[in-house]
């Protein structure tokens, strides 16, 4: 890296010391949306799930879509940063921290959605008291719990030297200073400490990869392990994992661009980083398209009675708008990155947004049409129209995600300073 050590430290620590009015404006807007979502949730708690558009036929809707989406995003971080760390890709250094933030925030938000979706949240502890290990939902609880703990550890370990840096450089009084002091665990830049830390980080990086893979595999099994047509597919595990990695990379690119712009990190996060991530994204995208062709072509060729109704609703029926929007937003990003003229930061960010739109719709069209194609004629209305409550809570999930990132960006360095400086 051609920037000096001082510049790195100064640039990376700037968000922690200087806050503009724009920051407060954005945070208040995000907080308002989140508060509105919380209020909506309280309405739902009071009245029951009747305030949602969910009924017996389509009984999982936006909430579960968001759940799969956010858990997918969470692969951003840990998986990307861990894989790049294990592969010793040096360029990763300025972006790993952000990726790890995204992971922790996205799991926290994503894991909330099944709880919001539950009819009786007051009985949530039954999962612990009476848990039944045969149930894929229990597997889900276990794997997401493990993943959350693992990613927090994986975020925290490389953060220790930076916390020590904050402690020394910022020398803040009050609570924040105490937090830095406490959580830097007396780090004093000794070689022994460094060796230990490096080993711990390496071990965590290796452990977290299978954990991350297992999380989205288990999420896919929740769907695949039922009698429902459209879900009974052995490709579902890898399909979901690759989709998760794809949306994860796209989210890193987007969040990276936002922070780069907002905090003036242009010297640390260069177009090179965007380009590298864009290539990764396109490769994953292509792999995802390959899996998708696999899924749709195989069941589409057989055109069995059960699959046919779902597939035709996707291809030219009621859900075709969503389906083709999803396909388009999956293909356009590849073109954007492939064409040299559009392969710049703005283009790549646009591509990343499209990819995430695509991935959200994809989760929607995986879940809803299959549920609408009931195994027996239904006794309740089958058309799912999300209610305002659901839309509010969905929006609140996204704003809450942004809010948490914004707050964290003010508390802890966004760049892994010590790793960048080491070069």
């Amino acid at each position: 890296m051609d920037v000096s050590r001082e510049t790195v430290v100064r640039d990376a620590l700037r968000p922690l010391t200087r806050t503009t009015w724009k920051y407060y404006l954005i945070v208040s807007i995000l907080a308002l949306i989140t508060a509105w979502g919380l209020y909506s949730y309280f309405i739902q708690l009071e009245s029951g799930l009747i305030v949602t558009g969910l009924r017996d036929t389509v009984f999982w809707g936006l909430y579960i879509t968001n759940f799969v989406f956010f858990i997918g995003i969470s692969h951003a971080g840990t998986l990307i940063s861990a894989i790049l760390r294990v592969a010793n890709a040096e360029w990763r250094k300025p972006i790993t921290r952000m990726a790890e933030y995204i992971t922790v925030m996205a799991i926290s938000i994503g894991a909330l959605y099944p709880l919001i979706d539950m009819g009786r949240i007051d009985r949530i502890l039954n999962v612990i008291f009476y848990g039944r290990i045969q149930s894929p939902i229990v597997w889900d609880f276990i794997s997401i719990g493990t993943y959350l703990v693992g990613s927090i550890t994986y975020l925290y370990l490389p953060l220790i030297p930076d916390l020590a840096l904050c402690r020394d450089k910022l020398a803040l009084p009050g609570l924040r200073g105490r937090i830095y002091r406490l959580f830097s665990l007396g780090w004093s830049w000794q070689d022994g400490q460094r060796r230990l830390l490096m080993r711990a980080v390496k071990i965590m990086a290796i452990i977290i990869i299978p954990v991350a893979v297992s999380v989205h595999t288990v999420v896919s099994w929740i769907f695949a392990m039922t009698f429902r047509a459209g879900w009974r597919s052995t490709v579902f595990g890898p399909y979901f994992v690759v989709g998760a990695v794809l949306s994860g990379i796209a989210t890193i690119i987007f969040i990276m661009a936002v922070f780069r712009k907002a905090y003036g990190l242009e010297r640390l996060i260069t177009p090179k980083h965007f380009e590298n991530l864009a290539y990764l994204m396109v490769a994953t995208d292509l792999f995802y398209i390959y899996l998708m062709i696999n899924e749709y072509l195989v069941s589409g060729y057989i055109w069995g009675v059960n699959e046919a109704s779902i597939l035709s609703s996707l291809y030219w029926g009621g859900y075709s708008v969503y389906f083709w929007a999803m396909v388009l937003t999956l293909i356009i990003p590849i073109l954007i990155v492939a064409i040299p003229r559009t392969r710049n930061v703005a283009g790549i960010v646009l591509a990343s947004i499209l990819v995430n739109v695509s991935m959200w719709i994809k989760r929607f069209v995986i879940i809803i049409p299959t549920l609408a194609a009931t195994p027996m004629p239904p006794t309740t209305p089958v058309i799912y129209i999300p209610s305002l409550i659901e839309l509010s809570i969905t929006l609140a999930g996204f704003s809450g995600f942004g809010l948490m990132l914004a707050i964290f960006s003010k508390l802890f360095p966004l760049i892994s300073i010590w790793e960048v400086v080491e070069e």
Binding site: G119, N126, T226, G318, T374, T379
Partner: protein, 343 residues
Amino acid sequence: MVDGLRRPNGSETSRLGRREFLKGALLGAAVTVGVLSGDLSLRVAAQPSPPAESLALDRESELVRMTRELQESLKKPLQERKWVMVIDLRRCVGCHSCTVSCIAENKTPPGITYRPVMIWETGEYPNVKLNFLPRPCMQCDEPPCTSVCPVNATWKREDGIVVIDYGKCIGCRYCVMACPYGARSTDYGYEWVPELEHGPLAGTAAKERQDRVKSLEYQPTPWYGGPYGRGDTIGITRKCHFCIHRIESGVLPACVSTCIGGATYFGDLNNPNSLVNELLRRYGAFRLKEELGTEPSVYYITGEGGASVISELEAMVDRYREEVLLREFGGRFRAGLGGGGLE
């Protein structure tokens, strides 16, 4: 027998109006039939059981016989009973009495029916035929819905009935997804309150919910795993349980005693001389979605092996899907559903 009819008191409300009228009418229907079957079983003590030849001719004696056999089976330990339902589709007239009596008996809220009757048309003019298919819970021997429950709130009893512990269920609805028969439904909080008739959210304030008609299932009873009932019925999954509270008191399930056409039979498969066994022996029967390996406890009799009914049902499901998923996106599928379907 009269004792058997006494059931735990449902909490009644004094609200007047359309809801009350409706409920009264429904309960009236159920009670009439219930008393009828009770009366008959008193008579049976004096009479010898009817000869097998009269079977399928005399519904009264069928009800008497089934009640007697039920009470005999109750003397056996739980694990030696195996409750099955046999539905003779040749006798089903599609009157929905079973659906109505089920709603009245189990006090299900709008939108929830444990036993809808599916109706569909087959053939081409002028050779058209209406088909009826009552669909209770199949009480599978290999239930796909129980192992997926994350909190062990649903299981197959030793007598073959799949029950839900309504005090334990967390409302994740995974079992609803696992059931290939659509036999599980979730209580989303619909209520029989007049206000609700005007729009999806009208009148659903929390205090109104207190007048909600409470189901027996939610009250502390020995049949649902002890005193779990908390009075609040909203947010969890419900299902048909062969009117377990009636069976345990020696009365036939509500849908069986109400069936006007005499199409629904109920009994113990482990009793070789029971009416259901006789029917199965005599006519042969088919079960729904045999290929899934769920081993349902509900048998259908058509007299022709059921192949045509199954293929017709499949065609109907297909048509429904076509209608919903392809043509009428945004519309609602109204045709061919038994009671409980909401507009």
